[in-house]
């Protein structure tokens, strides 16, 4: 995967950027709110009568800043909760997928060695790479994958993969 594609491939990152920006806004706005509240308090203590409008203005600014702060915090909380939900759902889907795969393997009666090979096929390794990883001859792996395809009732790698894609894309009901 090329580096510039990565942000597109992991949509979670956009949300994370948004959350970070919101958090920065909240912190900066809190400091601004503090400044205005402090100013209002100082003016009140000084107790000058001729600064009435000035005081009102500053007070309103402080109030608006605080309300904005509340809105931003609510917004960030919603965003974080949504991110959490997405992660959980994805993890559940992934976990279920693993079970689906295991279920298929069991149905077909794959041997432990064949399971390993089948899994590597699913992960996109070609026969030569699988042979290297497992430290077996390329011929052995070829024979094993042929056995896997036969047991699964498909005529090759593409059909084998599409079996699982089907499962992933199928409606939950």
């Amino acid at each position: 995967m090329t580096p510039w594609l990565r942000p597109l491939m992991r949509p979670g990152d956009a949300d994370e950027r948004r959350a970070a920006i919101l958090a920065w806004m909240i912190v900066l706005q809190a400091l601004c709110a503090l400044f205005f509240i402090g100013d209002v308090l100082a003016d009140l203590r000084a107790g000058n009568d001729d600064t009435g409008t000035h005081l009102w203005l500053e007070g309103s600014v402080a109030l608006v800043l605080c309300i904005g702060l509340g809105v931003l915090m609510y917004e960030l909380r919603q965003l974080l909760m949504r991110m959490e939900r997405v992660t959980t759902t994805l993890r559940a889907a992934r976990g279920e997928m693993a079970e689906v795969i295991e279920g298929f393997f069991a149905d077909w009666g794959l041997t432990p060695a064949e399971r390993d090979v089948a899994l590597m096929i699913l992960k996109g390794l070609d026969n030569d790479s699988i042979a290297t990883v497992r430290g077996r001859a390329a011929g052995t792996v070829r024979a094993q994958s042929a056995a896997i395809y036969a047991k699964a009732g498909v005529d090759g790698r593409t059909q084998f993969l599409s079996l699982f894609m089907e499962e992933l894309l199928a409606d939950p009901d």
């Binding site: 919101l22 958090a23 912190v27 809190a30 915090m73 909380r77 997928m97 795969i101």
Partner: protein, 188 residues
């Protein structure tokens, strides 16, 4: 690449600290560093940084009420009993990992917040007409500062120790927001 489908076993990255938690944490750390080592204690900058730190602490406390789960008070209630239990489990050599603060870390967090609030309160009092130059306020401010330094040392030591004990890179988690945790060690 062995027969475990989906890469479910092994280390898992879990999002624990949201950006606001991290920002306030490092903001407070920076403020404390600046005010303890760099600013003139009688200067205006010292006061302003102090107010800034207070704002961050208050913001974090608000976030403890309205924030997401791991940031909330309910994720790490202050409980000396739980802390003792954690200590005993640690001595027994158990290596359970906690998603939010562990019970002893939680006590430290409350200690740090209370100390910072006490520092801010006495600091603000020193600037008021009523308490200006009053000895006990100044002494309290200095005592709170000493306690803060002690606590910070303990906090850093505790983090390093726990990092070594559980193998979870905690300091890194406070930067990236994610804890890398062995799935089987997870415990709340």
């Amino acid at each position: 690449m062995a027969g475990t489908p989906g890469g479910r076993e092994g280390a898992r990255e879990i999002r624990v600290w949201d950006p606001l938690v991290r920002l306030t944490h490092w903001g407070v750390a920076l403020g404390v560093l600046v005010n303890s080592a760099l600013t003139d204690p009688d200067g205006a900058l010292h006061e302003q940084v102090g107010y800034g730190v207070l704002a961050l602490v208050v913001l974090r406390l608000l976030w403890c009420i309205v924030g997401p789960k791991p940031a909330r008070f309910s994720a790490f209630p202050p409980s000396p009993a739980a802390a003792l239990g954690h200590l005993r489990a640690m001595l027994r050599g158990e290596r359970k990992v906690h998603l939010s603060h562990n019970p002893m870390g939680a006590l430290m967090v409350y200690n740090l917040w209370l100390t910072l609030l006490a520092l801010s309160a006495t600091g603000i009092m020193m600037g008021t007409v009523t308490f200006f130059g009053v000895d006990w306020v100044e002494e309290l401010h200095e005592a709170a500062f000493g306690w803060l330094m002690f606590s910070v040392a303990l906090h850093v030591g505790g983090v390093l120790f726990d990092q070594w004990r559980t193998g979870v890179p905690l300091a890194r988690a406070m930067v990236t927001g994610r804890k890398r945790i062995q799935a089987e060690r997870l415990d709340g």
